[in-house]
């Protein structure tokens, strides 16, 4: 099977700082793939390079068989990559429904059709009862789910989730894990997530990439990765083995 996303020897430098250092990996269609690592490891920079916010200094990125490095963020989304942000940024002055309609309009010129699609997604993410609320009035867990809903509304083939579980209580984390698992199972949606919450990574991901100082230090199944000495030393700490 051909990979949906192939990242090949991608590097990104900010003056003297190498934020991403010749990172390579590929994601198969329908896979849930996680990127973990300590703060400052380059995870979000790698995300932003894939999403078109930054252009890579070296390396190539291919999505669905076509090169996307150098593409603009809107161009990347139109090709089928939806994303959320580490610091959530829903449109605060718009209602929950309108936030999702904006995403749904990408592939639907008709507002009524976009609204119907938005309602389906809001129901799936348990946000339908709050559809008329202003996004700025939502709680953090709701805002995180709204970001996922908005990205899903663009009908992505690949969903990039940047720490959607961060700052949530365990019950809220389990809720999002359940939603993502169901989405992946029912629609075959491919997911690439950055996550610090290891219980979510262990529950969701089929493979995990570990970054440290911008470079890949391990890759494999969650069970393999958490036993890697380099990963334990740089990120997880000894308690994970206990």
């Amino acid at each position: 099977m051909t990979a949906l996303l192939s990242v090949d020897a991608v590097s990104k430098r900010f003056r003297g700082l190498v934020a991403v250092d010749r990172v390579s990996f590929s994601i198969m269609p329908g896979e849930i793939y996680a990127v973990i690592g300590p703060n400052g490891a380059g995870k979000t920079t790698l995300f932003n390079v894939i999403a078109g916010v930054f252009q890579p200094d070296d390396g190539t990125i291919a999505f669905n068989g076509s090169r996307i490095d150098g593409e603009t963020p809107d161009g990347v989304c139109r090709r089928g990559i939806g994303r959320t942000f580490q610091i959530v940024r829903p449109f605060p002055g718009l209602s929950v429904e309108d936030n999702v309609i904006v995403g749904a309009l990408l592939h639907r010129p008709d507002v009524a059709a976009a609204r119907r699609h938005a309602h389906e997604i809001l129901s799936r993410l348990d946000l339908f009862p709050k559809r008329s609320h202003l996004a700025s009035t939502l709680t953090l867990p709701d805002r995180k789910r709204l970001e996922v809903a908005r990205a899903l509304a663009t009908d992505p083939k690949l969903l990039l989730l940047d720490e959607v579980m961060a700052g949530l209580r365990p019950s809220e984390t389990d809720r999002i894990v359940a939603i993502l698992t169901e989405l992946n199972r029912e629609t075959g949606l491919t997911i690439l997530l950055i996550e610090h919450v290891m219980r979510a990574v262990m529950a969701l991901a089929s493979r995990v990439l570990v970054l440290h100082h911008g470079a890949k230090i391990a890759e494999g199944t969650p069970a393999q990765v958490v036993r890697e000495p380099a990963v334990i030393e740089s990120y997880l700490g000894a308690e994970v083995l206990e």
Partner: protein, 333 residues
């Protein structure tokens, strides 16, 4: 289209709207020319405020040089009328592309090179100032000495050439304002309207949803500039004289954005309500001072300042969002 127009508006709101329109159509039969002139000013500012609102209220791009487009519309139509005998309605067809093209140039320079926020606002001021200086030396349209249209025959209404009584001008500007309201209403609820609002709220997030921010901001500037130029055509034929120092002056640009700011930026009724408050109350204040025999230079500017202060402190979203909540009417910002 009618279904789209009334979608989301309460029955109560529709009845109020119909009554208001009927009242506005009938009012010239019951008031004198002075009051009609005040109403003309109100709708003039409501119209230009609506046009400015497309750029700032819908798409989030602050222009502080919108007098540029009024001036371009005014000078284009006036020059065609005086030099070639072309009527104002045909002049509008020329004014819209002229203003739209310059808007596109400004938009391209700004959006292509990442000029945004206050820097974009400064760029719009700069272009308006260039135009002021340029028209000051443009002898073909009178230069700094001014450009004059043949004065209207007051007793005859010639709609084709926009020469006539104040009541004729009133109906023209009322028609412009109603048309602008309908256009803005449809735009705001269109696909493009949703994209504009997304860009206004958070451009990087909008781009992450596949929205080509450059394209949609350009469209907003061109539509706003073209619509504003129509106000310029009206201005030229209503006042019959144009001076670069007045038409392109920054105070004109500021004056035209006060109504939507006070009424409610990004709302459909905000520019209209703001114009009613500002022009209506300032003219009332002027009349009262006149009756009392008090001459206070700059009273209008002080009044505008007080209105702005009150709104910024008490109602930062503008008067209309507050009023619509009170009246039980809904409007999406």
């Amino acid at each position: 289209m009618i279904a789209r127009l009334i979608e989301g508006t309460s029955r109560r709101g529709l009845v109020l709207l119909a009554l208001l329109l009927a009242f506005l159509i009938l009012i010239p039969f019951f008031v004198n020319d002075y009051l009609i002139t005040v109403l003309i000013l109100i709708f003039y500012f409501a119209f230009v405020g609506q046009a400015w609102n497309i750029m700032m209220g819908f798409a989030g791009q602050l222009s502080l040089g919108h007098a540029l487009y009024v001036g371009l519309g005014a000078y284009t139509s006036a020059a065609l009328y005086v030099h070639f005998g072309v009527g104002p309605w045909i002049g509008m067809l020329a004014a819209i592309p002229v203003a739209g093209a310059l808007g596109a140039v400004i938009g391209f320079l700004a959006f292509r090179f990442g000029v945004s926020g206050v820097y974009f606002a400064i760029l719009t001021i700069a272009f308006c100032e260039f135009a002021r200086v340029g028209f000051d030396h443009f002898r073909w349209v009178g230069g700094s000495a001014g450009f004059f249209l043949p004065v209207a025959q007051y007793s005859v209404n010639d709609l084709w050439n926009l020469r006539g009584k104040p009541s004729m001008f009133y109906y023209v500007i009322l028609g412009f304002t109603v048309a602008a309201f309908i256009i803005c209403h449809l735009l705001l609820r269109s696909r493009m309207g949703y994209f504009w609002q997304a860009i206004r709220e958070d451009e990087p997030a909008a781009r992450a949803l596949g929205i080509n921010a450059f394209r949609y901001k350009m469209i907003a500037v061109v539509i706003s500039a073209g619509m504003t130029s129509l106000a310029g055509v009206f201005f030229a034929f209503f006042y019959n004289n144009l001076f670069p120092e007045q038409v392109f002056h920054i105070s004109r640009s500021i004056e035209m954005i006060l109504a939507p700011i006070i009424g409610g930026v990004g709302t459909l009724f905000g520019p209209i309500l703001g114009a009613v408050i500002l022009t209506g109350l300032s003219e009332t204040m002027h009349e009262i001072l006149h009756l009392l025999g008090v001459d206070v230079p700059g009273a209008k500017a002080v009044f505008y300042g007080i209105c702005l202060l009150v709104v910024i402190v008490a109602l930062p979203d503008g008067v209309w969002p507050w009023l619509s909540r009170r009246l039980g009417l809904s409007e999406r910002k």
